[in-house]
């Protein structure tokens, strides 16, 4: 049996299953592919009509494929370049690690480096440090003379900054989500308009 005859027999079998309602998607893929490559005039009469129907179904499929939204490929490529987001926990842990290291360094430096007290102000590196704790004086500041206390207060301030960053991060994430939803809506509108125009 020639290849052509074998293909004809296979096509006949599949068409039989097709009208029986028992063909598989793979069967139909094969027969669509076969009918799209063969010259209909070469087919037996009892397959010609089916071949025409299958060709028209394929044409309809091609029409839909050609009407794919212009930006769809871009949307898919954007997925392929997304870096995994750093988790909130990761950011906070990193921040705490850095601030703890900074606080430890300050404590170490305060114990090692020569420190001067000038006008009852704690000085490090020529800069005066003054922090607000309790019972401020008329200028609104309290002078700290104990180096260890000052380092603890600085570390506490950094932790407070970390908590503030936590709030900022949460708000930025919410805004980011809202912007994404807005972007999706705009894309839908644009796609709908471009389909209408076509």
């Amino acid at each position: 049996m020639t290849n052509f005859s074998e293909n004809i027999e296979r096509a006949r079998r599949i068409i039989g299953f097709y009208y029986d309602g028992t063909s598989t998607p793979e069967d139909l893929t094969w027969v669509k592919q076969y009918f799209s490559t063969v010259d209909i005039d070469d087919l037996p009469d009892n397959l010609k009509e089916d071949a025409e129907i299958f060709k028209m179904i394929e044409k309809e499929n091609s029409e839909i494929e050609d009407a794919v939204p212009d930006n769809l490929e871009g949307r898919i490529r954007a997925i392929m370049t997304e870096e995994p987001r750093v988790s909130k926990k990761g950011i906070i842990l990193r921040f705490v690690a850095w601030t703890s290291a900074a606080a430890a360094l300050v404590i170490l430096l305060l114990n090692i480096l020569p420190l001067g007290l000038q006008n009852n102000m704690l000085q490090i590196g020529g800069e005066s440090l003054a922090v607000l704790i309790n019972e401020p004086d008329e200028d609104g500041y309290v002078q700290i003379t104990d180096a260890e206390d000052a380092a603890k207060i600085i570390a506490g301030s950094m932790n407070l900054a970390g908590e503030t960053m936590d709030v900022v991060y949460e708000r930025v994430s919410k805004t980011d989500n809202k912007m994404k939803k807005l972007d999706d809506k705009i894309n839908k509108i644009l796609n709908h308009k471009s389909l209408k125009a076509s």
Partner: protein, 160 residues
């Protein structure tokens, strides 16, 4: 699977996947969303794709799954009417060859049309059609058989 291979083997399939999604969800915007979601899932699981025999088949299967879930989550039933069987005096107007098959399918009874379209344009198996339409697999087989035979009859009538 690395990004380069993903681009070569999977990215070109998106148009075909889109046409399958359109056939199932019957809405182009939703179909585009389904395609995007499909690729997001594939990209997330790209390291496991190397083990598959056919990544394209897996992509199509994933897309169909997403579309089925979308249809299930719909609350409003569409306002599709039940198309009756044509009479011998019906004429096709403004139906060029390209749209002929779609126009003929629209003339099938609703449940037959759904099954035939899902098979023809969505590439759905009988089981998938059963899941999408809520019919039993045995009913789907019957709907496909009757629908396809009727389609051929209509085609014969209008072209010969």
């Amino acid at each position: 699977m690395d990004k380069k291979r993903f681009e070569i083997e999977l990215l070109p399939c998106y148009k075909r996947i889109y046409s399958i999604c359109v056939a199932i969800v019957r809405d182009r915007d939703e179909a585009a969303d389904a395609v995007q979601e499909t690729y997001a899932r594939l990209w997330k699981r790209r390291e496991e794709l190397d083990e598959l025999e056919s990544v394209e088949a897996y992509a199509v299967k994933t897309a169909k799954r997403i579309c089925i879930d979308k249809i299930r989550s719909r609350e409003v039933v569409s306002e599709e009417h039940d198309a009756g069987v044509t009479s011998d005096t019906d004429r096709l107007e403004n139906a060029d060859e390209l749209r002929l098959i779609k126009t003929l399918m629209d003339k099938l009874p609703l449940n037959q049309r759904k099954a035939v379209e899902l098979s023809a344009f969505g590439g759905c198996s009988n089981d998938e059609i059963a899941e999408l339409t809520g019919e039993s697999p045995a009913n789907v087989r019957q709907l496909l058989s009757r629908g396809r035979k009727k389609l051929k009859e209509l085609y014969n009538h209008y072209t010969r």
